[in-house]
Symmetry: C2
Subunit: 410 residues, 2 copies
């Protein structure tokens, strides 16, 4: 027990052998323990990865006292009951024979990748908020480090996106990448793919995009996105909590969504049907206290039903372009709100009295002050003062004995 204590090592149990052993142990644990397995996560948090692996594989039995202590943590963490490490060991046993962490680390290295672990300085800051739901390790393909949530936005939505949804997703994602923001998504067809593609099209200098995969990084799922995912691995990052060879099961897709939410400061739903998987990402983002934004669309589009419900129940902020998303991400003052555009109307900034005078002026022949006063319901003195102000603004002019509107005042 002569190891160094690292960040994330749980109850403070030193890791035997240091970082190398921790990485190998975590590599094995990512294969052994299914994402979302609370018992496994609590075991690692309590014992550190090396000792946890020994217990999980049955090489060491958890003694009664430790079992109770870990159980307490799991229950406090929200689990309904504590199954006990012995029961979990039974579940994990079927996978022990398949463990080959060194081989998995070699595989990821062949793909230009690595396993990032909580003991590393580059462990994503966004995972801190996940607590014991944080992944055991993060398999990564790509050279950059994962960006901070303060500079990352998740862009998610329907696989069966409409051309409208694809267009908005593209504009928002490109605009965010142009502003130095990393676009996080799930690599799926539809909105996800468009978000990655558009971010890669940006010439911004920051990490353009991160695709969080549900399976191992040695495969491309869905296969139709292979070229895109290869491009993401080259110029952005492919990440997964599942080791090479791991299948992208439905359960892993659902668990994967918590990582997308955790890596991003804001989650933008571009299009979502009533029961879209994107809404699972939203639920995780809400749990993490992250901001949700939703893009509105035609009320007749079933692909916008989920977005409109999020807007209606107040879960999401309405966003229509990259600038509006960026303002949600930027700390106060950093994001300068875009200038209001649109032509100023003639009566903008006029007092009620001056509007009354202006409204009472004829367009063609001139009207007398008394006649204007009667129409406007103002005194002759008020009308004269108003005419003076309006004349200065070029909105009215003398016409014979009286006054009329100019073209600018019409």
């Amino acid at each position: 027990m002569g190891g160094v204590q690292f960040r994330g090592a749980g109850l403070g149990v030193p890791i035997e052998g240091g970082l190398g052993d921790a990485r190998i142990a975590r590599a094995a644990l990512t294969r052994l323990i299914e994402p979302g397995d609370r018992t496994g996560a609590a075991l690692v948090a309590a014992l550190g990865p090396v000792a946890a692996l020994a217990v999980a594989t049955g090489r060491t039995r958890a003694d009664q006292g430790l079992d109770a202590e870990i159980g307490q943590r799991v229950v406090e963490g929200g689990a309904k009951r504590w199954e006990g490490v012995a029961t979990a060991q039974e579940r994990w046993r079927g996978r022990v024979a398949h463990l080959a962490p060194e081989r998995d680390l070699e595989t990821i290295a062949r793909f230009g990748g690595r396993l990032v672990i909580p003991e590393d300085a580059e462990w994503p800051e966004g995972f801190d908020d996940l607590g014991e739901q944080a992944p055991i390790g993060l398999w990564v393909r790509g050279e950059e480090r994962v960006a901070t949530p303060r500079r990352s936005v998740a862009v998610v939505g329907s696989r069966a996106a409409t051309s409208y949804g694809l267009e908005v997703a593209g504009e928002i994602s490109k605009g965010l990448a142009d502003r130095g923001v990393t676009v996080v998504s799930g690599g799926a067809y539809g909105i996800d793919a468009q978000a990655h593609r558009a971010a890669l099209a940006s010439s911004g200098s920051a990490l353009p995009t991160v695709a969080v995969m549900a399976g191992g990084l040695d495969r491309y799922y869905p296969s139709g996105n292979e070229e895109l995912l290869r491009a993401v691995a080259r110029r952005g990052l492919l990440v997964s909590e599942v080791p090479p060879g791991g299948a992208p099961t439905r359960h892993r897709f659902l668990r994967r969504n918590r990582l997308i939410a955790a890596l991003a400061g804001v989650t933008v739903v571009v299009e979502a049907q009533a029961r879209s998987g994107a809404l699972s990402t939203v639920n995780h983002a809400v749990d993490l206290g992250r901001l949700i934004a939703a893009v509105p669309g035609p009320v007749y589009s079933i692909n916008s039903v989920g977005c409109h419900r999020l807007l209606r129940n107040g879960a999401a902020v309405c966003v229509t372009d990259a600038q509006e998303v960026w303002e949600l991400l930027a700390p106060a003052g950093e994001g300068l709100p875009e200038e209001e555009t649109g032509r100023k109307a003639v009566h903008d900034g006029l007092s009620i009295e001056d509007v009354l005078v202006l409204d009472s002026l004829p367009l063609r022949s001139g009207a007398s002050v008394d006649s204007i006063a009667s129409v406007a319901g103002l005194s002759p003195g008020q009308v004269r003062a108003g005419l003076g102000r309006l004349q200065l603004l070029g909105l009215c002019t003398r016409a014979g004995e009286g006054w009329k509107r100019t073209k600018e005042g019409a």
Copy 2:
């Protein structure tokens, strides 16, 4: 001073001669005093209509004490300063010669209408919240009484509406009228006209629609809506605070919007450009503490920019159909939320363990319990229990020595 004291008669000054004199006085005052004239409104509130008319027309001078008292009320009502009744008299003087209230009452009667005044039992309940911004009287064409805000919705929006906006406005308005809700709007081209038209198309038994006009009810403005406005007068209500012959000036349009807001429990903006007049109605509704709703649309439509801004800044609730608007209007419990539609997904309601088992089942040939356990990361006992539950739900079935998914479980 032997008159009866009526509701709305201000400081409690009895009206000489009773209801008939009050009506004639208010008929005259609606011509004399421009909508939004705080001095005039305060004068009527303080003295009652008959005495106020005498003062406003200069037949009686306001004494010093009364002037100060009324001034106090005006300033408390939010005015920056009190101009004094004498100054206001100067403003009103130009219109005194044109007063002919009996003739105006005859004119409205010829159009099948009447002047409703605060002293009447049918004075719209919604105007109570306007305080001293309430109209002096309401010129009405049509036989019904104005409905309560609890049963009225304002549907407003762009004059230059898109076909999308017109379709949504129509569906919402028709749906509301079908539910016994009165649709209030401004009689303008575009969304307003569509709202009135769709409400008239309903076979509901309640008052279908109210058009609040900016000018006198003896004219049809805009003229292209004449046929529609005549239909509203026949089967709904045309109302205005301006007497017959009054021109629909820009100032009166802006003031008119507060009446639309006040008559409705919810104001729905269907389409609005960044500087739409509909947003003036929204501002009044906010001041009155009424609910605002906005219809989302494509982010590329300039006609939805105003709606999206209202959603974004939290001023409005997102609504996509009549049912959702109706739920905003209905007191808790009265509006039964519509059933969620949409097919239940296969994994809805399953435990995480059962989802893991289901995900691990092959579709074609059967897999052994041990093999499923290894894939799922569960113990053989857990897999067997899960298979039992899934089989009961028809999601899996035996296949040879093993198990596979059914079509329902796919």
